[in-house]
Amino acid sequence: MLLAVSNVTKSYATGEGKLQVLKGVSFSLEAGGSLALTGESGSGKSTLLHLVAGLDSPDAGEIVIEGKNIVGLGDAQLAALRRQSVGLVFQQYNLIPSLDVAANLAFHSRLAGRDDADLRAMLTERLGLTGLLDRYPEQLSGGQQQRVAIGRTLAARPKLILADEPTGNLDEATGDSVLGLMLQLVAKTGAALLMVTHSERLAARLGSRIHLRAGQLV
């Protein structure tokens, strides 16, 4: 099992008291597998994704990545996990504005210490970024930025790819081809993909699917 989530609960303090976002969520994902996470807005999808990425800690439950429970790890260990094992594709891309496209693409892989120029060249080509390498994020369209963000994650070859609506800003054809690329790489490298999406069509292309409603899997 690459990822095993069991009985995870999470609540946030709000103005009106405690808001229970996740109410005992359990699921697992094997290496080479892909899982679509769907649900209404506010159902807790992003929170679940952030917990799995080690950006935040659950109130209770276990999150085991590559056999290691990440709940209760320290700041530095979580940072190492994010650097080495997890790759995040944000909905808002979150590129680094001061770096050009080439540097952004290479950023995470260099942080992880496994920069592979050939892989990057391949990704650049497959993602249609060839002419954009010396541009800066603010000079790119939303779709272009999204492709850079995906490329950045894929170039780092993480074990677990976490993606939040990664193709939301792409047209249907490009979105399909980008998703295909992601699935192909996951299969080839033995990684796993957990993807948050609204799209039934995209969810159907993934290996399996779970649906969140009001903090619980249904």
Partner: protein
């Protein structure tokens, strides 16, 4: 509508109290230092004016006894009865406990209005009867009064118009207290003289008329000191305005969407600008008032040091207390308002011209293009060319100051380019993703930080520049003192007979008694002191010569040449060998040029025989005495008691030097305090910038965190960034500061005082200053860095959340 809109605009500050605090603090600090310096200068000037105006000596001519002694009162009466409007004055010093009081006796009834310090006749806190009748009155300053509190003096009346250390009393009282019954020191000539008069020579022979000095020698001398203070004050104010500019600019930028909303809701553009101006005005008035009050405290704190410096340096008496001059404080407030608007003008302009429908670009301000940096660099270059032109073709003090200004401005404007180049270089040489990101990200922060860094640069450069000037001045001055005060004792008689008696008494008891006789005359159209000296090893070995012919002393001793001081030489472009025509038509070539600091007038030295031959009327009052240093003090005491001389008739070299040294240290205390204050303002500017930027940084830093950098790591990088920027700024400040020092020493000083000081460099001081700047930079980013470190994951996550 207006109230609502204003409340909406102001709500921004409510939510960003730190930004508001920065703005107000920056503005009030700037105003404080500026007002403090103005207040000190103003106080000093008023003091000089009072001292100079002492019984009219700055404006009215006086009659003195030709032989330098007292005038008999009978001479006064006979002059009055011959139709001369003169008023008697008796001056002298008397010791009361530890206080050496200068007593000035006047006759209030005949004293011309121009010479009146205290209006005894019209009241002024006393009455004529009390003034005249026993035991009389002393009109003194508050400071003198407290010093004299426990002494047996006549009743004291405190008046503002009398300088410290001076008491004005009735001439009758003065004659009794000074033991000079029936004697006068001088008579003031009223500007109004009757139509019919007996000629002066017939009415009262043996008197000489001395005109008041064309300008106050004191203000001239102390100008250099006040110049320093003013420069600092101005600089601190400019640095403060950088803070205001950046705070106001940021606030305008952050409220762009609010402006747009207000406009969309129907607030006319003109009204918006009006409201913003009102907001600025409020800040300016509040901060200006606070600043003025703080300035008063700063001035009150610094004034005693300033007073000590000036007293020791120039003998200028300055009250250690500050008076509230409405003019200074009002000016402080106005300057605060003008400064605020100057800093906010850009924002107001943009708010006025902002299109209604442009998209909100909150980061636009921070993302100013490299193009702007290049434009600034081009302007800087043009300014530098202008500075060069000023240096080559400009003359006069104004040109000197213009040179300073262009140099500083040019330095400040070119700084962003230098920083950008340094950061680019950093990017090129660094491997590793994080380092590369670090350099490029720093480059992107540059526009937001460059104003603060410019402020830091100016503060540092000023510190280096003024510090170098003061320290160079100190070194040079002390060295010069050593040379100039080569003799162990200096004695002065009150009249020629007394001086002769001193001379005769000293000759068998010392190694040498060297005359320092002099006369005053016009040389090359300027009043010049002409000294006569005898040939002696003292001069040959020690005289502070800047340039001299090889056999200079032989030539001078033989009466074939003269020495000119630097001031005279510079003003008239004299070179060695040039002929100088002395009063009476005697012409001699210049055989040497010597340095002569602290004296604005020209000076000429010739052989003493020549002086006596050319100018038999030359004053023969002073001598320098050579004696074994160990015996000097005893000899001085013996001379005083043998001839019953006052304390000041004999001065020993060691005490002059000790006093000078002490004064210099006090002077540095003031300079150091101002240095710290200016740096403090610059530090605040940096703090303000970092704090305001840090709010916008979270969004840029969150992805790094998500990709596996820990928060302490990121905070450390932020700290490193500010240190790197400060380090580059320090490096840039050193040449700029040296340039500044050079201009001050070689241009401004020459124009203002006629002497040029050698520039000494003090690398250790730079090192200290550099470390201080790094400390300042580190401290200024500490708060944002700590905040970043403590940032909850939830706050970072918000960046990635859907709802954003």
């Amino acid at each position: 509508m207006y109230t609502n809109s204003l409340v909406a605009l102001l709500s921004h500050w409510w939510r960003k109290p730190l930004q508001l605090a920065m703005l107000l603090l920056g503005l009030s600090l700037a105003t404080a230092i500026w007002s403090a310096v103005q207040a000190i200068n103003d106080e000093a000037r008023a003091s000089y004016a009072r001292a100079a105006a002492m019984v009219g000596q700055d404006r009215l001519p006086s009659l003195f006894a030709a032989d330098g002694t007292y005038i008999n009162q009978a001479v006064y009466v006979s002059l009055r009865r011959s139709g001369w409007s003169v008023s008697p004055v008796l001056e002298g010093t008397k010791r009361y406990g530890d206080v050496r009081l200068r007593i000035i006796g006047i006759d209030p009834l005949t004293l011309p209005a121009e010479a009146r310090q205290v209006d005894v006749v019209a009241g002024g806190g006393g009455s004529l009867r009390e003034f005249i009748a026993q035991p009389g009155l002393f009109y003194v300053s508050a400071e003198t009064a407290s010093a004299l509190m426990d002494e047996q003096t006549p009743p004291l009346r405190i008046v503002k118009s009398v300088p410290p250390g001076v008491a004005i009393t009735d001439i009758g009282q003065a004659q009794v207290l000074l033991g000079a019954p029936g004697k006068l020191s001088r008579m003031i000539l009223s500007p109004q003289q009757p139509l019919v008069q007996v000629p002066l020579a017939a009415a009262a022979p043996g008197l000489v008329r001395k005109e008041p000095p064309a300008e106050s020698a004191m203000s001239r001398l102390t100008d250099s000191f006040h110049l320093n203070l003013t420069a600092f004050g101005f600089l601190a104010f400019a640095v403060g305005l950088f803070i205001v500019h950046s705070a106001v600019g940021l606030a305008f930028e952050q409220r762009r969407s609010m402006f747009r909303t207000l406009r969309a809701l129907g607030l006319p553009s003109r009204s918006l600008v009006l409201l913003l101006a009102l907001e600025l005005l409020t800040f300016a008035v509040v901060a200006g008032c606070v600043g003025v009050a703080m300035g008063y405290l700063v001035a009150a704190m610094l004034l005693p040091d300033v007073a000590t410096s000036l007293r020791g340096l120039y003998g200028a008496e300055l009250e250690g207390t500050l008076s509230l001059r409405p003019s200074v404080w009002g000016a402080g407030l106005i300057i605060a308002i003008l400064g605020t608007f100057a800093s906010g003008l850009q924002g107001l302009w943009q708010a006025a011209r902002m299109p209604l429908l442009a998209p909100a670009r909150p980061r636009a301000w921070a993302l100013a293009s490299e193009q702007q940096i290049l434009v600034q660099a081009i302007v800087a270059t043009l300014l530098l060319v202008m500075a060069g032109g000023l240096l080559m073709f400009g003359t006069g003090l104004i040109a000197g100051f213009a040179l300073l200004a262009t140099l500083l401005l040019s330095g400040a404007l070119v700084l962003p380019l230098l920083l950008m180049l340094a950061l680019k270089a950093g990017t090129w040489v660094s491997r590793g993703a994080v380092l590369q990101w670090f350099w490029s990200d720093t480059r992107q922060q540059l526009p937001g930080l460059s104003l603060a860094l410019m402020a830091l640069l100016l503060a540092l450069a000023a510190n280096i520049g003024v510090g170098s000037m003061v320290s160079s001045f100190r070194l040079t001055f002390l060295g010069w003192l050593d040379q100039r005060l080569a003799s162990e004792l200096y004695v002065a008689g009150r009249n020629t007979a007394e001086a002769e008696t001193m001379h005769d008494w000293l000759v068998p008891r010392s190694d040498a008694v060297l005359p320092i006789w002099n006369t005053e005359g016009e040389v090359m159209g300027q009043p010049v002191l002409i000294y006569g000296i005898v040939d002696h090893a003292t001069y040959r070995a020690k005289w502070p010569m800047l340039e001299a012919m090889p056999n200079v002393w032989d030539e001078v001793a033989a009466g074939k040449a003269l020495l000119a001081n630097e001031q005279l030489a510079r003003r008239n472009h004299l070179k060695l060998g040039d002929s100088v025509r002395l009063p009476g038509g005697h012409a001699l070539p210049v055989a040497g040029i010597f340095s002569d600091y602290g004296n604005p007038k020209g000076q000429v030295i010739i052989a003493n025989d020549l002086l006596v031959r050319f100018y038999p009327e030359a004053s023969r009052l002073r001598y320098a005495v050579r004696v074994a240093p160990a015996k000097a003090a005893d000899l001085a005491d013996a001379l005083r008691s043998a001839l019953n001389l006052p304390e000041e008739a004999v001065i020993d070299q060691a005490s002059i030097k000790a006093t000078s040294l002490k004064i210099f240290e006090r002077t540095f205390a003031v300079t150091a305090a101002l240095n710290v204050l200016t740096l403090g303002v610059a530090a605040l500017a940096m703090l303000a910038s970092f704090v305001t930027l840090s709010g916008m940084r979270v969004a840029q830093l969150a992805p790094l965190w998500a990709m596996g950098l820990t928060r302490p790591h990121i905070a450390g990088l932020e700290l490193l960034r500010s240190l790197a920027l400060a380090a580059v700024t320090v490096l840039a400040a050193i040449p700029l500061g040296l340039g500044l020092a050079w201009v001050l020493l070689a241009v401004v000083n020459v124009e203002a005082f006629g002497w040029r000081l050698p520039l000494y460099i003090f690398p250790f001081e730079w090192l200290k200053l550099g470390l201080l700047a790094l400390l300042v930079a580190g401290l200024s980013v500490l708060l944002p860095a700590i905040r970043l470190m403590r940032l909850a994951p939830a706050d970072l996550l918000r960046i990635f959340a859907d709802e954003r």
